[in-house]
Symmetry: C2
Subunit: 308 residues, 2 copies
Protein backbone atom coordinates (compact mmCIF):
# COMPACT_ATOMS: atom_id res chain seq x y z
CA UNK A 1 0.00 0.00 0.00
CA UNK A 2 2.94 2.35 0.58
CA UNK A 3 3.97 1.61 -3.01
CA UNK A 4 0.47 2.51 -4.18
CA UNK A 5 0.54 5.71 -2.15
CA UNK A 6 3.91 6.72 -3.65
CA UNK A 7 2.80 5.88 -7.17
CA UNK A 8 -0.41 7.88 -6.77
CA UNK A 9 1.52 10.85 -5.39
CA UNK A 10 3.80 10.73 -8.43
CA UNK A 11 0.87 10.42 -10.83
CA UNK A 12 -1.15 13.30 -9.36
CA UNK A 13 2.00 15.29 -8.59
CA UNK A 14 0.24 16.16 -5.36
CA UNK A 15 1.84 15.14 -2.06
CA UNK A 16 -1.33 16.03 -0.22
CA UNK A 17 -4.17 14.32 1.54
CA UNK A 18 -7.64 15.71 2.15
CA UNK A 19 -8.79 15.35 5.75
CA UNK A 20 -12.44 14.37 5.79
CA UNK A 21 -13.21 15.70 9.29
CA UNK A 22 -16.86 16.75 9.11
CA UNK A 23 -17.44 18.93 12.14
CA UNK A 24 -21.06 19.81 12.71
CA UNK A 25 -20.49 23.52 12.03
CA UNK A 26 -18.87 22.82 8.64
CA UNK A 27 -21.99 21.14 7.26
CA UNK A 28 -23.77 23.36 4.72
CA UNK A 29 -27.17 24.31 6.07
CA UNK A 30 -29.11 22.95 3.10
CA UNK A 31 -27.68 19.44 3.59
CA UNK A 32 -28.46 19.34 7.30
CA UNK A 33 -31.94 20.87 6.88
CA UNK A 34 -32.87 18.31 4.24
CA UNK A 35 -31.68 15.39 6.37
CA UNK A 36 -33.45 16.69 9.48
CA UNK A 37 -36.66 17.23 7.47
CA UNK A 38 -36.49 13.56 6.46
CA UNK A 39 -35.20 11.94 9.66
CA UNK A 40 -35.85 14.39 12.48
CA UNK A 41 -33.27 15.83 14.88
CA UNK A 42 -31.38 12.56 15.13
CA UNK A 43 -27.91 11.06 14.84
CA UNK A 44 -29.20 9.41 11.66
CA UNK A 45 -30.01 12.78 10.10
CA UNK A 46 -26.70 14.43 10.91
CA UNK A 47 -24.83 11.34 9.72
CA UNK A 48 -26.72 11.36 6.42
CA UNK A 49 -25.76 15.03 5.98
CA UNK A 50 -22.12 14.12 6.76
CA UNK A 51 -22.18 11.41 4.13
CA UNK A 52 -23.71 13.72 1.47
CA UNK A 53 -21.14 16.38 2.35
CA UNK A 54 -18.22 13.95 2.05
CA UNK A 55 -19.51 12.43 -1.17
CA UNK A 56 -19.77 15.83 -2.86
CA UNK A 57 -16.24 16.80 -1.76
CA UNK A 58 -14.79 13.48 -2.92
CA UNK A 59 -16.59 13.75 -6.26
CA UNK A 60 -15.15 17.25 -6.73
CA UNK A 61 -11.54 16.42 -5.80
CA UNK A 62 -10.72 12.72 -6.28
CA UNK A 63 -9.03 13.17 -9.66
CA UNK A 64 -6.56 15.68 -8.19
CA UNK A 65 -5.45 13.85 -5.05
CA UNK A 66 -3.83 10.56 -4.05
CA UNK A 67 -5.45 10.03 -0.67
CA UNK A 68 -8.01 11.01 1.94
CA UNK A 69 -7.75 10.94 5.72
CA UNK A 70 -11.09 10.61 7.49
CA UNK A 71 -10.77 11.50 11.19
CA UNK A 72 -12.89 8.84 12.92
CA UNK A 73 -13.55 11.00 16.02
CA UNK A 74 -15.70 13.29 13.89
CA UNK A 75 -17.91 10.30 13.03
CA UNK A 76 -17.74 8.59 16.42
CA UNK A 77 -19.28 11.73 17.94
CA UNK A 78 -22.45 10.85 16.03
CA UNK A 79 -22.57 7.36 17.54
CA UNK A 80 -23.41 4.26 15.51
CA UNK A 81 -25.01 6.22 12.63
CA UNK A 82 -21.84 8.34 12.45
CA UNK A 83 -19.66 5.24 12.21
CA UNK A 84 -21.91 3.92 9.44
CA UNK A 85 -21.23 7.21 7.59
CA UNK A 86 -17.49 6.67 8.22
CA UNK A 87 -17.64 3.21 6.68
CA UNK A 88 -19.69 4.46 3.71
CA UNK A 89 -17.07 7.19 3.18
CA UNK A 90 -14.21 4.67 3.30
CA UNK A 91 -16.00 2.37 0.85
CA UNK A 92 -16.82 5.22 -1.52
CA UNK A 93 -13.24 6.54 -1.53
CA UNK A 94 -12.07 3.00 -2.27
CA UNK A 95 -14.39 2.90 -5.31
CA UNK A 96 -12.70 6.12 -6.43
CA UNK A 97 -9.31 4.38 -6.05
CA UNK A 98 -8.14 6.79 -3.36
CA UNK A 99 -5.72 5.62 -0.66
CA UNK A 100 -7.51 5.82 2.69
CA UNK A 101 -5.64 6.81 5.84
CA UNK A 102 -7.91 6.11 8.80
CA UNK A 103 -6.98 8.75 11.36
CA UNK A 104 -7.90 6.62 14.34
CA UNK A 105 -4.91 7.15 16.68
CA UNK A 106 -5.57 3.80 18.34
CA UNK A 107 -2.99 2.16 20.55
CA UNK A 108 -3.23 -0.59 23.13
CA UNK A 109 -1.32 -3.78 23.88
CA UNK A 110 -1.14 -7.35 22.65
CA UNK A 111 -4.46 -8.88 21.72
CA UNK A 112 -6.21 -5.52 22.13
CA UNK A 113 -3.93 -3.79 19.64
CA UNK A 114 -4.41 -6.81 17.39
CA UNK A 115 -8.18 -6.28 17.63
CA UNK A 116 -7.83 -2.63 16.55
CA UNK A 117 -5.53 -3.67 13.71
CA UNK A 118 -8.04 -6.29 12.60
CA UNK A 119 -10.89 -3.79 12.85
CA UNK A 120 -9.25 -1.21 10.60
CA UNK A 121 -6.67 -2.94 8.43
CA UNK A 122 -7.38 -6.66 8.65
CA UNK A 123 -10.04 -9.32 8.40
CA UNK A 124 -11.97 -11.20 11.05
CA UNK A 125 -12.78 -14.85 10.47
CA UNK A 126 -16.27 -16.03 11.40
CA UNK A 127 -16.43 -19.75 10.71
CA UNK A 128 -15.01 -20.04 7.19
CA UNK A 129 -15.92 -16.51 6.18
CA UNK A 130 -13.41 -13.64 6.24
CA UNK A 131 -14.78 -10.14 6.64
CA UNK A 132 -12.94 -6.78 6.62
CA UNK A 133 -14.70 -4.68 9.29
CA UNK A 134 -13.62 -1.14 8.28
CA UNK A 135 -10.97 -1.75 5.64
CA UNK A 136 -8.88 1.41 5.55
CA UNK A 137 -5.44 1.25 3.84
CA UNK A 138 -3.43 2.97 6.58
CA UNK A 139 -4.17 3.78 10.21
CA UNK A 140 -2.57 6.28 12.58
CA UNK A 141 -1.27 4.68 15.80
CA UNK A 142 -0.18 6.04 19.21
CA UNK A 143 3.25 4.80 20.42
CA UNK A 144 2.98 5.49 24.17
CA UNK A 145 2.60 1.78 25.02
CA UNK A 146 5.75 0.75 23.11
CA UNK A 147 6.42 -2.19 20.79
CA UNK A 148 3.66 -4.33 22.34
CA UNK A 149 1.23 -1.80 20.93
CA UNK A 150 2.84 -1.44 17.50
CA UNK A 151 3.87 -4.98 16.56
CA UNK A 152 0.31 -6.35 16.32
CA UNK A 153 -0.41 -3.60 13.79
CA UNK A 154 2.72 -4.48 11.81
CA UNK A 155 1.72 -8.16 11.76
CA UNK A 156 -1.65 -7.29 10.22
CA UNK A 157 0.02 -4.83 7.82
CA UNK A 158 2.29 -7.61 6.56
CA UNK A 159 -0.61 -10.01 6.05
CA UNK A 160 -2.76 -7.43 4.29
CA UNK A 161 -0.16 -5.27 2.52
CA UNK A 162 -1.24 -2.23 4.53
CA UNK A 163 0.52 0.42 6.60
CA UNK A 164 0.49 2.66 9.66
CA UNK A 165 1.59 6.16 10.60
CA UNK A 166 2.93 6.34 14.16
CA UNK A 167 2.56 9.60 16.11
CA UNK A 168 6.03 11.06 16.63
CA UNK A 169 5.59 14.83 17.02
CA UNK A 170 2.06 16.15 16.90
CA UNK A 171 1.08 19.59 15.61
CA UNK A 172 -0.61 20.97 18.74
CA UNK A 173 0.84 23.69 21.02
CA UNK A 174 1.12 21.38 24.08
CA UNK A 175 2.70 18.49 22.17
CA UNK A 176 5.99 19.39 23.82
CA UNK A 177 4.77 18.63 27.37
CA UNK A 178 5.96 15.04 27.02
CA UNK A 179 7.22 14.71 23.43
CA UNK A 180 9.95 17.37 23.78
CA UNK A 181 11.33 16.21 27.14
CA UNK A 182 15.02 15.43 26.98
CA UNK A 183 16.12 11.84 27.51
CA UNK A 184 19.82 10.96 27.20
CA UNK A 185 20.46 14.27 25.46
CA UNK A 186 17.66 13.94 22.91
CA UNK A 187 13.96 14.80 22.99
CA UNK A 188 11.45 11.97 23.37
CA UNK A 189 10.14 12.51 19.82
CA UNK A 190 13.59 11.69 18.47
CA UNK A 191 13.67 8.44 20.43
CA UNK A 192 10.23 7.61 19.09
CA UNK A 193 11.41 8.53 15.57
CA UNK A 194 14.38 6.19 15.88
CA UNK A 195 12.07 3.43 17.01
CA UNK A 196 9.73 4.12 14.08
CA UNK A 197 12.67 3.78 11.70
CA UNK A 198 13.58 0.49 13.37
CA UNK A 199 10.01 -0.86 13.28
CA UNK A 200 9.91 0.21 9.64
CA UNK A 201 12.93 -1.86 8.61
CA UNK A 202 10.82 -4.88 9.35
CA UNK A 203 8.22 -4.07 6.68
CA UNK A 204 9.69 -2.23 3.69
CA UNK A 205 8.03 -1.32 0.40
CA UNK A 206 10.16 -0.51 -2.67
CA UNK A 207 11.66 2.75 -1.42
CA UNK A 208 9.74 3.54 1.74
CA UNK A 209 8.51 1.58 4.71
CA UNK A 210 4.94 0.55 5.44
CA UNK A 211 5.55 2.11 8.86
CA UNK A 212 5.20 5.87 8.53
CA UNK A 213 5.29 8.72 11.02
CA UNK A 214 3.13 11.69 11.95
CA UNK A 215 5.08 14.95 12.34
CA UNK A 216 3.14 18.21 12.63
CA UNK A 217 3.59 21.02 10.09
CA UNK A 218 3.80 23.52 12.94
CA UNK A 219 7.35 22.45 13.94
CA UNK A 220 9.45 22.74 10.74
CA UNK A 221 12.82 22.59 12.54
CA UNK A 222 11.80 19.35 14.18
CA UNK A 223 10.56 18.04 10.84
CA UNK A 224 14.02 18.67 9.41
CA UNK A 225 15.67 16.64 12.19
CA UNK A 226 13.17 13.80 12.01
CA UNK A 227 13.51 13.58 8.20
CA UNK A 228 17.15 12.60 8.81
CA UNK A 229 16.39 10.27 11.71
CA UNK A 230 13.86 8.37 9.58
CA UNK A 231 15.09 8.49 5.95
CA UNK A 232 12.92 5.61 4.70
CA UNK A 233 9.81 6.70 6.59
CA UNK A 234 6.89 8.41 4.91
CA UNK A 235 5.88 11.42 6.99
CA UNK A 236 2.22 12.35 7.31
CA UNK A 237 2.12 16.08 8.07
CA UNK A 238 -0.97 17.53 9.76
CA UNK A 239 -1.34 21.18 10.71
CA UNK A 240 -1.10 22.78 7.25
CA UNK A 241 -3.37 25.77 6.67
CA UNK A 242 -5.78 26.29 9.53
CA UNK A 243 -3.21 25.32 12.18
CA UNK A 244 -0.64 27.67 10.66
CA UNK A 245 1.70 25.54 8.51
CA UNK A 246 2.70 26.87 5.05
CA UNK A 247 4.23 25.13 2.02
CA UNK A 248 7.52 27.00 2.41
CA UNK A 249 7.88 25.64 5.96
CA UNK A 250 7.53 22.07 4.82
CA UNK A 251 10.29 21.55 2.28
CA UNK A 252 12.53 19.78 4.77
CA UNK A 253 9.90 17.13 5.45
CA UNK A 254 10.56 15.93 1.89
CA UNK A 255 13.56 13.98 0.66
CA UNK A 256 15.68 15.19 -2.26
CA UNK A 257 13.50 13.13 -4.64
CA UNK A 258 10.51 15.28 -3.70
CA UNK A 259 8.94 12.27 -1.98
CA UNK A 260 8.78 11.11 1.62
CA UNK A 261 6.01 13.33 2.94
CA UNK A 262 2.30 13.83 2.47
CA UNK A 263 0.67 16.96 3.81
CA UNK A 264 -2.85 16.94 5.21
CA UNK A 265 -5.37 19.72 5.14
CA UNK A 266 -8.82 19.27 6.60
CA UNK A 267 -10.69 22.47 7.43
CA UNK A 268 -8.76 24.40 4.77
CA UNK A 269 -10.22 22.15 2.06
CA UNK A 270 -13.55 20.80 3.23
CA UNK A 271 -14.72 24.08 4.76
CA UNK A 272 -13.05 26.26 2.09
CA UNK A 273 -16.43 27.80 1.28
CA UNK A 274 -16.32 29.52 4.68
CA UNK A 275 -13.08 31.36 3.87
CA UNK A 276 -13.15 34.84 2.41
CA UNK A 277 -10.89 33.66 -0.40
CA UNK A 278 -13.47 31.17 -1.69
CA UNK A 279 -16.64 32.88 -0.50
CA UNK A 280 -17.71 33.71 -4.03
CA UNK A 281 -18.57 30.04 -4.61
CA UNK A 282 -21.35 30.31 -2.07
CA UNK A 283 -22.41 27.69 0.43
CA UNK A 284 -24.40 25.77 -2.16
CA UNK A 285 -21.23 25.20 -4.21
CA UNK A 286 -19.08 24.15 -1.25
CA UNK A 287 -17.58 21.26 -3.22
CA UNK A 288 -16.33 23.55 -5.98
CA UNK A 289 -14.71 25.72 -3.33
CA UNK A 290 -12.98 22.61 -2.01
CA UNK A 291 -11.69 21.80 -5.49
CA UNK A 292 -10.25 25.30 -5.84
CA UNK A 293 -8.62 25.01 -2.41
CA UNK A 294 -7.06 21.67 -3.36
CA UNK A 295 -5.55 23.23 -6.49
CA UNK A 296 -4.15 26.15 -4.49
CA UNK A 297 -2.67 23.82 -1.89
CA UNK A 298 -0.99 21.66 -4.53
CA UNK A 299 0.48 24.77 -6.13
CA UNK A 300 1.74 26.15 -2.81
CA UNK A 301 3.51 22.93 -1.90
CA UNK A 302 4.83 22.18 -5.41
CA UNK A 303 6.27 25.68 -5.69
CA UNK A 304 7.92 25.33 -2.31
CA UNK A 305 9.49 21.99 -3.22
CA UNK A 306 10.69 23.04 -6.67
CA UNK A 307 12.18 26.33 -5.47
CA UNK A 308 14.17 24.96 -2.56
CA UNK B 1 -19.41 9.94 38.90
CA UNK B 2 -16.21 9.43 40.92
CA UNK B 3 -18.36 9.83 44.05
CA UNK B 4 -20.73 7.18 42.71
CA UNK B 5 -17.82 4.86 41.96
CA UNK B 6 -16.39 5.30 45.47
CA UNK B 7 -19.78 4.79 47.10
CA UNK B 8 -20.44 1.64 45.07
CA UNK B 9 -16.99 0.27 45.95
CA UNK B 10 -17.75 0.86 49.64
CA UNK B 11 -21.18 -0.74 49.34
CA UNK B 12 -20.01 -3.87 47.52
CA UNK B 13 -16.75 -3.94 49.47
CA UNK B 14 -15.20 -4.87 46.15
CA UNK B 15 -12.55 -2.59 44.63
CA UNK B 16 -12.74 -4.49 41.36
CA UNK B 17 -14.02 -4.02 37.85
CA UNK B 18 -14.96 -6.74 35.41
CA UNK B 19 -13.39 -6.25 31.98
CA UNK B 20 -15.94 -7.12 29.31
CA UNK B 21 -13.43 -7.93 26.55
CA UNK B 22 -15.15 -10.59 24.48
CA UNK B 23 -12.44 -12.13 22.34
CA UNK B 24 -13.74 -14.49 19.69
CA UNK B 25 -12.11 -17.52 21.30
CA UNK B 26 -13.76 -16.83 24.68
CA UNK B 27 -17.28 -17.16 23.26
CA UNK B 28 -18.96 -20.39 24.35
CA UNK B 29 -19.56 -22.56 21.31
CA UNK B 30 -23.30 -22.89 21.85
CA UNK B 31 -23.82 -19.11 21.76
CA UNK B 32 -21.84 -18.66 18.57
CA UNK B 33 -23.40 -21.69 16.86
CA UNK B 34 -26.91 -20.48 17.63
CA UNK B 35 -26.18 -16.98 16.31
CA UNK B 36 -24.51 -18.32 13.14
CA UNK B 37 -27.46 -20.67 12.55
CA UNK B 38 -29.76 -17.66 12.66
CA UNK B 39 -27.67 -15.02 10.89
CA UNK B 40 -24.99 -16.88 8.93
CA UNK B 41 -21.23 -16.42 9.22
CA UNK B 42 -21.50 -12.68 9.63
CA UNK B 43 -20.41 -9.80 11.85
CA UNK B 44 -24.05 -9.60 12.95
CA UNK B 45 -23.97 -13.20 14.20
CA UNK B 46 -20.74 -12.89 16.16
CA UNK B 47 -21.91 -9.58 17.63
CA UNK B 48 -25.19 -11.16 18.75
CA UNK B 49 -23.19 -13.93 20.44
CA UNK B 50 -21.00 -11.29 22.13
CA UNK B 51 -24.07 -9.52 23.43
CA UNK B 52 -25.63 -12.74 24.79
CA UNK B 53 -22.29 -13.63 26.40
CA UNK B 54 -21.98 -10.23 28.08
CA UNK B 55 -25.59 -10.18 29.23
CA UNK B 56 -25.25 -13.56 30.96
CA UNK B 57 -22.03 -12.51 32.71
CA UNK B 58 -23.52 -9.19 33.84
CA UNK B 59 -26.67 -10.95 35.10
CA UNK B 60 -24.49 -13.36 37.10
CA UNK B 61 -22.19 -10.76 38.66
CA UNK B 62 -23.78 -7.29 38.80
CA UNK B 63 -24.84 -7.55 42.46
CA UNK B 64 -21.24 -8.24 43.54
CA UNK B 65 -19.38 -5.51 41.67
CA UNK B 66 -19.32 -1.73 41.37
CA UNK B 67 -18.25 -1.38 37.75
CA UNK B 68 -17.53 -2.91 34.37
CA UNK B 69 -14.90 -1.97 31.81
CA UNK B 70 -15.80 -2.92 28.25
CA UNK B 71 -12.73 -2.79 25.98
CA UNK B 72 -14.03 -1.17 22.79
CA UNK B 73 -11.34 -2.72 20.56
CA UNK B 74 -12.93 -6.13 21.10
CA UNK B 75 -16.19 -4.78 19.66
CA UNK B 76 -14.65 -2.55 16.98
CA UNK B 77 -13.05 -5.67 15.50
CA UNK B 78 -16.56 -6.81 14.56
CA UNK B 79 -17.27 -3.56 12.71
CA UNK B 80 -20.56 -1.70 13.00
CA UNK B 81 -22.48 -4.70 14.41
CA UNK B 82 -19.78 -5.06 17.05
CA UNK B 83 -20.14 -1.43 18.06
CA UNK B 84 -23.90 -1.90 18.29
CA UNK B 85 -23.20 -4.77 20.74
CA UNK B 86 -20.87 -2.41 22.66
CA UNK B 87 -23.61 0.17 22.97
CA UNK B 88 -26.18 -2.46 23.99
CA UNK B 89 -23.75 -3.67 26.66
CA UNK B 90 -23.21 -0.13 27.99
CA UNK B 91 -26.96 0.51 28.08
CA UNK B 92 -27.66 -2.79 29.82
CA UNK B 93 -24.99 -2.23 32.47
CA UNK B 94 -26.47 1.21 33.08
CA UNK B 95 -29.88 -0.40 33.70
CA UNK B 96 -28.13 -2.58 36.28
CA UNK B 97 -26.73 0.58 37.92
CA UNK B 98 -23.12 -0.40 37.24
CA UNK B 99 -20.48 2.28 36.68
CA UNK B 100 -19.18 1.93 33.13
CA UNK B 101 -15.54 2.60 32.30
CA UNK B 102 -15.22 2.69 28.51
CA UNK B 103 -11.72 1.39 27.83
CA UNK B 104 -11.28 3.37 24.65
CA UNK B 105 -7.75 4.79 25.06
CA UNK B 106 -8.61 7.67 22.75
CA UNK B 107 -6.43 10.73 22.56
CA UNK B 108 -6.15 13.50 19.99
CA UNK B 109 -6.05 17.29 20.08
CA UNK B 110 -8.45 20.20 20.37
CA UNK B 111 -11.70 19.76 18.52
CA UNK B 112 -10.85 16.13 17.74
CA UNK B 113 -10.38 15.23 21.40
CA UNK B 114 -13.58 17.15 22.08
CA UNK B 115 -15.34 14.96 19.51
CA UNK B 116 -14.13 11.77 21.24
CA UNK B 117 -15.19 13.19 24.61
CA UNK B 118 -18.61 14.04 23.22
CA UNK B 119 -18.91 10.59 21.64
CA UNK B 120 -18.24 8.70 24.86
CA UNK B 121 -19.02 10.99 27.80
CA UNK B 122 -21.03 13.88 26.42
CA UNK B 123 -23.99 14.85 24.30
CA UNK B 124 -24.24 16.09 20.75
CA UNK B 125 -26.83 18.72 19.91
CA UNK B 126 -28.78 18.28 16.67
CA UNK B 127 -31.10 21.25 16.33
CA UNK B 128 -32.75 21.46 19.75
CA UNK B 129 -32.28 17.79 20.58
CA UNK B 130 -29.42 16.54 22.77
CA UNK B 131 -28.29 12.96 22.25
CA UNK B 132 -25.65 10.95 24.17
CA UNK B 133 -23.91 8.85 21.49
CA UNK B 134 -22.27 6.12 23.65
CA UNK B 135 -22.80 7.38 27.18
CA UNK B 136 -20.15 5.63 29.27
CA UNK B 137 -19.38 7.06 32.75
CA UNK B 138 -15.60 7.08 32.47
CA UNK B 139 -13.22 6.75 29.53
CA UNK B 140 -9.53 5.82 29.38
CA UNK B 141 -7.40 8.45 27.62
CA UNK B 142 -3.87 8.49 26.16
CA UNK B 143 -1.67 11.40 27.33
CA UNK B 144 1.00 11.43 24.59
CA UNK B 145 -0.41 14.59 22.99
CA UNK B 146 -0.34 16.61 26.24
CA UNK B 147 -2.89 18.97 27.78
CA UNK B 148 -4.46 19.81 24.39
CA UNK B 149 -5.60 16.22 24.30
CA UNK B 150 -6.79 15.98 27.90
CA UNK B 151 -8.48 19.33 28.55
CA UNK B 152 -11.35 18.79 26.08
CA UNK B 153 -12.15 15.58 27.98
CA UNK B 154 -12.08 17.41 31.30
CA UNK B 155 -14.43 20.08 29.93
CA UNK B 156 -16.97 17.45 28.98
CA UNK B 157 -16.46 15.65 32.31
CA UNK B 158 -17.29 18.85 34.17
CA UNK B 159 -20.43 19.44 32.13
CA UNK B 160 -21.63 15.86 32.48
CA UNK B 161 -20.30 14.88 35.92
CA UNK B 162 -18.14 12.17 34.36
CA UNK B 163 -14.51 11.14 34.57
CA UNK B 164 -11.42 9.81 32.81
CA UNK B 165 -8.52 7.51 33.56
CA UNK B 166 -5.29 8.70 31.92
CA UNK B 167 -2.65 6.11 30.92
CA UNK B 168 0.37 6.61 33.16
CA UNK B 169 2.16 3.25 33.34
CA UNK B 170 0.68 0.41 31.33
CA UNK B 171 0.88 -3.27 32.30
CA UNK B 172 2.64 -4.63 29.21
CA UNK B 173 6.28 -5.81 29.08
CA UNK B 174 7.40 -3.11 26.60
CA UNK B 175 5.67 -0.26 28.44
CA UNK B 176 9.10 0.86 29.62
CA UNK B 177 10.39 1.65 26.12
CA UNK B 178 9.14 5.21 26.44
CA UNK B 179 7.31 5.39 29.80
CA UNK B 180 10.37 4.46 31.90
CA UNK B 181 12.85 6.77 30.16
CA UNK B 182 14.52 9.17 32.57
CA UNK B 183 13.80 12.88 32.21
CA UNK B 184 15.33 15.31 34.72
CA UNK B 185 16.10 12.42 37.04
CA UNK B 186 12.61 10.88 36.95
CA UNK B 187 10.95 8.40 34.61
CA UNK B 188 8.42 9.73 32.11
CA UNK B 189 5.55 7.93 33.88
CA UNK B 190 6.25 10.00 36.99
CA UNK B 191 6.07 13.22 35.00
CA UNK B 192 2.80 12.04 33.50
CA UNK B 193 1.59 11.09 36.99
CA UNK B 194 2.39 14.59 38.29
CA UNK B 195 0.51 16.08 35.37
CA UNK B 196 -2.48 13.80 36.06
CA UNK B 197 -2.53 15.01 39.67
CA UNK B 198 -2.44 18.59 38.40
CA UNK B 199 -5.20 18.04 35.82
CA UNK B 200 -7.16 16.35 38.59
CA UNK B 201 -7.10 19.36 40.93
CA UNK B 202 -9.25 21.09 38.39
CA UNK B 203 -12.13 18.63 38.75
CA UNK B 204 -12.41 17.16 42.24
CA UNK B 205 -15.11 14.95 43.70
CA UNK B 206 -15.55 14.64 47.48
CA UNK B 207 -12.31 12.80 48.23
CA UNK B 208 -10.94 11.85 44.85
CA UNK B 209 -10.61 13.54 41.49
CA UNK B 210 -12.67 12.87 38.39
CA UNK B 211 -9.30 12.52 36.63
CA UNK B 212 -7.95 9.05 37.39
CA UNK B 213 -4.88 7.15 36.22
CA UNK B 214 -4.11 3.76 34.72
CA UNK B 215 -1.19 1.96 36.39
CA UNK B 216 -0.57 -1.70 35.53
CA UNK B 217 -0.68 -4.40 38.23
CA UNK B 218 2.51 -5.88 36.83
CA UNK B 219 4.72 -3.09 38.24
CA UNK B 220 3.96 -2.99 42.01
CA UNK B 221 7.02 -0.91 42.90
CA UNK B 222 5.99 1.72 40.41
CA UNK B 223 2.42 1.58 41.73
CA UNK B 224 3.78 2.40 45.18
CA UNK B 225 5.62 5.48 43.88
CA UNK B 226 2.71 6.70 41.79
CA UNK B 227 0.29 6.29 44.69
CA UNK B 228 2.32 8.97 46.48
CA UNK B 229 2.71 11.20 43.43
CA UNK B 230 -1.07 11.22 42.90
CA UNK B 231 -2.71 10.97 46.36
CA UNK B 232 -6.15 12.17 45.22
CA UNK B 233 -6.18 10.14 42.03
CA UNK B 234 -8.18 6.94 41.64
CA UNK B 235 -5.96 4.31 40.05
CA UNK B 236 -7.41 1.84 37.59
CA UNK B 237 -5.20 -1.24 37.72
CA UNK B 238 -5.18 -3.62 34.74
CA UNK B 239 -3.03 -6.74 34.56
CA UNK B 240 -4.44 -8.70 37.51
CA UNK B 241 -4.74 -12.44 37.01
CA UNK B 242 -3.98 -13.48 33.47
CA UNK B 243 -1.18 -10.90 33.07
CA UNK B 244 0.40 -12.01 36.35
CA UNK B 245 -0.69 -9.48 39.01
CA UNK B 246 -1.80 -10.84 42.42
CA UNK B 247 -3.75 -9.24 45.28
CA UNK B 248 -0.71 -9.21 47.55
CA UNK B 249 1.22 -7.17 44.96
CA UNK B 250 -1.42 -4.50 44.85
CA UNK B 251 -1.76 -3.25 48.41
CA UNK B 252 0.35 -0.18 47.75
CA UNK B 253 -1.96 0.99 44.99
CA UNK B 254 -4.53 1.63 47.75
CA UNK B 255 -4.53 4.47 50.24
CA UNK B 256 -4.68 3.83 53.98
CA UNK B 257 -8.49 4.11 53.84
CA UNK B 258 -8.58 1.04 51.58
CA UNK B 259 -9.75 3.22 48.71
CA UNK B 260 -7.99 4.88 45.79
CA UNK B 261 -7.66 1.92 43.45
CA UNK B 262 -9.89 -0.34 41.41
CA UNK B 263 -8.46 -3.55 39.99
CA UNK B 264 -9.56 -4.91 36.63
CA UNK B 265 -9.75 -8.52 35.58
CA UNK B 266 -11.00 -9.46 32.14
CA UNK B 267 -10.02 -12.94 30.93
CA UNK B 268 -9.77 -14.20 34.52
CA UNK B 269 -13.48 -13.49 35.05
CA UNK B 270 -15.25 -13.66 31.71
CA UNK B 271 -13.37 -16.75 30.49
CA UNK B 272 -13.14 -18.35 33.96
CA UNK B 273 -14.91 -21.44 32.61
CA UNK B 274 -11.77 -22.17 30.57
CA UNK B 275 -9.56 -22.38 33.68
CA UNK B 276 -8.95 -25.70 35.38
CA UNK B 277 -10.08 -24.17 38.66
CA UNK B 278 -13.59 -23.51 37.37
CA UNK B 279 -13.81 -26.25 34.75
CA UNK B 280 -16.40 -28.19 36.75
CA UNK B 281 -19.02 -25.55 35.85
CA UNK B 282 -18.83 -26.61 32.23
CA UNK B 283 -18.98 -24.34 29.20
CA UNK B 284 -22.77 -24.15 29.35
CA UNK B 285 -22.57 -22.56 32.82
CA UNK B 286 -19.85 -20.07 31.92
CA UNK B 287 -21.66 -17.24 33.75
CA UNK B 288 -21.71 -19.19 37.04
CA UNK B 289 -17.98 -19.75 36.64
CA UNK B 290 -17.57 -15.98 36.22
CA UNK B 291 -19.52 -15.37 39.43
CA UNK B 292 -17.27 -17.77 41.33
CA UNK B 293 -14.19 -16.09 39.89
CA UNK B 294 -15.48 -12.65 40.94
CA UNK B 295 -15.96 -13.90 44.51
CA UNK B 296 -12.44 -15.35 44.58
CA UNK B 297 -10.95 -12.13 43.23
CA UNK B 298 -12.76 -10.00 45.82
CA UNK B 299 -11.52 -12.32 48.56
CA UNK B 300 -7.93 -12.25 47.29
CA UNK B 301 -7.82 -8.47 47.19
CA UNK B 302 -9.74 -7.88 50.43
CA UNK B 303 -7.44 -10.27 52.29
CA UNK B 304 -4.40 -8.53 50.90
CA UNK B 305 -5.66 -5.09 51.92
CA UNK B 306 -6.78 -6.12 55.41
CA UNK B 307 -3.57 -8.02 56.19
CA UNK B 308 -1.14 -5.33 55.16
Amino acid sequence: MINKLVSKIKKTNAPIVVGLDPMLNYLPKHLLDKAVAEQGESLEAVSEAVWQYNKAIVDATYDLIPAVKPQIAMYEQFGIPGLIAYKKTVDYCKEKDLVIIGDIKRGDIGSTSAAYATAHLGKIKVGNTEIAPFNEDFATVNPYLGSDGINPFIDVCKAENKGIFVLVKTSNPSSGEFQDRIIDGKPLYEHVGEQVAKWGEDHMGDDYSYVGAVVGATYPEIGKVLRKVMPKTYILVPGYGAQGGKGADLVHYFNEDGLGAIVNSSRGIIAAYKQEKYASYGEANFADASRAAVKDMIEDISNAISSR
